[in-house]
């Protein structure tokens, strides 16, 4: 009886585990819309580093891992930085040109005096 039941029990447990994992993924919004997906990613970003630190402390691996260097550069903020800088300089160009021209003319006048 038991040897006959064993494959069935194995199949049922596998289906339970697979179905449970699919349900957990669905329930936590991982398979939903873009907003739910990005909210889940933010949650994970907030939760994973402290959890990782705790596990490292638990296993005593603190000293072995090198600390992540803090990078100040943000690709999101600097994506169009070149374009913005160029356009702002172009928009200021006439004002600056007239300022420099006036300064140059005053300098020449003072030289002539």
């Amino acid at each position: 009886m038991a040897p006959r039941m064993w494959p069935f029990v194995k199949l049922v447990s596998k289906v339970t585990i697979a179905g449970g994992s699919v349900y957990v993924a669905y329930d936590s919004g991982l398979l939903g819309t873009s907003e739910q997906g990005s909210a889940a990613l933010e949650k994970a970003k907030a939760v994973v580093p402290p959890a990782l630190e705790e596990w490292m402390k638990y296993f005593g691996l603190e000293a072995q891992l090198p600390t992540m260097p803090k990078i100040e550069f943000s690709p999101v903020n600097s994506w169009n930085a070149g374009v913005r800088w160029t356009i702002s300089r172009l928009s200021e160009a006439p004002t600056r040109a007239s300022e420099y021209t006036n300064q140059g003319l005053q300098y020449i006048k003072e030289l002539i005096k």
Partner: protein
């Protein structure tokens, strides 16, 4: 659609893509180990399905600005 809105939508698309790829990978590994004797193809299949879902979501998100909703049609 303003540039800021497009930027936010693209950010959401990327984040969603990462999440769905990871979920597909995880589920693929689970199914591969449990049912398919640790073969690679379920992992590839589920990861691809996750990416496809993210692509479809992104497409819908970017198009939603230009879609007329039923309530607006009734007003017209």
């Amino acid at each position: 659609m303003s540039e800021k809105e497009i930027g936010k939508k693209l950010d959401r698309c990327l984040a969603d893509g990462v999440v769905k790829l990871g979920t597909g990978l995880g589920l693929g590994i689970v199914f591969s180990v449990l049912f398919f004797k640790r073969r690679t193809w379920p992992i590839t299949l589920f990861s691809g399905a996750g990416l496809g879902m993210a692509y479809a979501n992104c497409q819908h998100d970017l198009r939603s600005h230009y879609l007329l909703h039923t309530s607006e049609q009734q007003k017209q």
